[in-house]
């Protein structure tokens, strides 16, 4: 078939799907930008009055809630991603050893990832429950704590508690990706390092780590993006409470939009979340480029 004919066919094949993608993703995004500059309010008239950047100014300079939520988001994301990365790296290194049943282990370790968010939240809520939860029962039984810990209703404990759940949700996919990267390390290189007298830690640091770095960057960035915008688990576990202790930016968007009816203001916060994620994305791109340049110089 002629190249030009093939190309024309390609447009017919791509057009329906891409129309849907653009209409359903890019259009809402643009609409979101527009709304964020309007006085959109679900209970007031004149929803489309133009207000310029007033919502953004309000969020960044006047709203205490915004900055405390932003801090919670950063804290939640940093702790959850760091925790999940350490856990998944450990598991991936173990699974990369010459063991039988690797596939089965990998599948079983992936299970938390497929459990629906709502079920995840409910089963952890049950697990954390003050009076009937297993966590408190076991801790008291073992004598580790004197009295039951009110995990989700104590402002001090709520954040660590939701971070644990997020780690639980996040580590599986990171493990799979890191394991795949580990398996791409050429065996000969490890053997060569062994012959040169490198111990296990040196072998890891000077050989394996070099192969892990680019993959780690990508997966850590993706994990940050997923976690920073995650809504379900915190909303269902604590609803942002107690006393706003776990109110992250996505929760704030929902609260402002549907409890306070301030759709325009909520939209502005939504756009700010997108901007933060974009900065993260570009940061990673730059880092990756610098890293690959450094590696080339090395070789």
């Amino acid at each position: 078939m002629l190249q030009r004919q093939r190309a024309r066919l390609a447009y017919y094949l791509v057009l329906p799907a891409m129309t849907l993608v653009v209409v359903l993703n890019l259009l809402p995004l643009l609409q979101g930008l527009v709304i964020s500059m309007q006085s959109q309010n679900l209970i007031r008239p004149n929803p489309t009055g133009f207000v310029g950047f007033r919502h953004y100014v309000r969020a960044l300079t006047q709203d205490v809630d915004f900055w405390s939520s932003a801090w919670h988001s950063v804290y939640f994301t940093a702790c959850a991603v760091a925790g999940a990365y350490v856990l998944s790296l450990g598991l991936a290194l173990l699974l990369n050893l010459d063991i039988k049943g690797r596939g089965l282990f990998r599948a079983l370790f992936l299970i938390p990832w497929v459990v629906p968010d709502v079920v995840t939240a409910l089963l952890w809520k049950w697990f954390y429950s003050d009076q009937w939860g297993f966590a408190n029962f076991a801790l008291v039984k073992l004598g580790l704590v004197g009295a039951a810990i009110p995990w989700l209703s104590d402002p001090k404990m709520a954040m660590p508690a939701v971070i644990i759940v997020q780690i639980w949700k996040l580590y599986p996919i990171m493990t799979v990706v890191l394991l795949a990267a580990l398996q791409s390390v050429p065996k000969e290189l490890i053997e060569a390092a062994k012959i040169d007298g490198a111990g296990p830690f040196q072998r890891f640091w000077y050989v394996t780590a070099n192969f892990l770095r680019p993959t780690s960057m990508v997966i850590v960035l993706l994990a940050c993006i997923w976690t920073f915008q995650s809504f379900d688990i915190i909303y269902l576990l604590t609803g942002g409470g107690p006393a706003n202790a776990t109110q992250t930016l996505p929760i704030l968007v929902y609260v402002k939009a549907f409890w306070a009816s301030q759709l325009g203001y909520a939209s502005a916060i939504g756009v700010l979340i997108l901007l933060i994620l974009m900065v993260l994305g570009f940061l990673n791109l730059g880092l990756e480029r610098a890293l690959s340049r450094g590696r080339d110089a090395h070789v």
Binding site: L9, V14, V114, P116, L123, S129, I273, L274
Partner: protein, 291 residues
């Protein structure tokens, strides 16, 4: 046999012991980690078979002392749970059919045909994956409301397709790329057109990949919460995640119902996942992350 042992140098034997210890330690750590990590899920299943008195007893047992189906019976016959179940099943099925149907053609064109704008399309597909759902849900809510679709299943299907489609196209592209091009050349020589080749050769070959993506789309829609929360209002329209979440207010402290309900929601997902996990993992690694 005994000769072989005699022939082995002493050092080797010691080395084997070390390997044995290492293996025991590795499995020990792995099983321990698995036990700790999966315990909350086990606890949900175990709790779902306990009677009310046992569930709220002072002393807890890992497994129910008396096994009972009572909780499952109650959640299925005494709450609107079956309604939620069918709503979810219907929405996920329609979403999957639409998504896969559109994705196959687009993915094939992107994987196999060189045309202007191919790179741009790839960029759009990947960048949509980065859009935070909380940013998109507000404008989508307004758009849906203006279209008069608020509080309908159609609204939720539209939203689910919107977010499943880019991912499905990108993953399918990965599967198509991995099919040897010679097969198509052979078909072309035999006089088959591009569409015939796609339907008769590529789709059957990519069958497992397509099945994995269909499964993945289904599961995502089955699990989806935020859009259901924003776009639906009537109780009779609720999906499983939304319905189960509302149990927290409507049946406060009825952990028996929530644990049985949670088990029912998770089981199909777990079953299909364990069935398809090899393909899902392959697709994720090949299609989505490496690009």
């Amino acid at each position: 046999m005994s000769d072989a042992i005699l022939d082995e140098p002493v050092v080797e034997t010691q080395f084997n012991y070390r390997r044995l210890y290492a293996a025991v330690a590795t499995y020990g750590v792995l099983f321990f980690a698995l036990g700790v990590i999966l315990f909350p899920i086990f606890w949900m299943f175990s709790s779902s078979f306990k009677g009310q008195t046992e569930l709220f007893a002072r002393d807890m047992t890992l497994l129910p002392v008396v096994w009972t189906w009572e909780n499952y019976y109650n959640v299925w016959f005494n709450t609107p749970f079956p309604r939620y179940f069918w709503n979810s099943f219907y929405i996920a099925s329609v979403t999957t059919v639409i998504t896969v149907g559109f994705a196959i053609y687009a993915a094939y064109a992107i994987a196999r045909i060189r045309f202007r704008g191919r790179f741009l399309i790839g960029m759009i597909l990947l960048s949509t994956q980065m859009f935070p759902h909380v940013t998109l849900v507000l404008p989508l809510f307004l758009i849906i409301r203006n279209l008069g679709l608020f509080n309908t299943h159609a609204a939720l299907i539209i939203a689910n397709v919107a977010f499943a489609l880019p991912f499905a196209i990108w993953m399918l592209r990965g599967f198509f790329v991995s099919i040897p091009e010679e097969l198509e050349d052979a078909a072309a020589i035999d006089g088959a057109g591009l569409m015939t080749t796609l339907h008769k050769i590529i789709v059957p070959l990519a069958g497992p990949g397509i099945a994995a993506i269909a499964m993945f789309t289904f599961i995502r829609s089955w699990n989806e919460f935020l859009f259901a929360l924003v776009l639906l209002q009537s109780q009779s329209l609720r999906t499983l995640p939304l319905g189960l979440a509302s149990f927290q207010e409507e049946y406060t402290y009825r952990w028996d119902l929530m644990m049985a309900g949670g088990s029912i929601v998770s089981l199909p997902v777990l079953f299909f996942f364990l069935l398809m996990q090899r393909f899902i993992v392959q697709g994720l690694l090949g299609g989505a992350l490496k690009g």
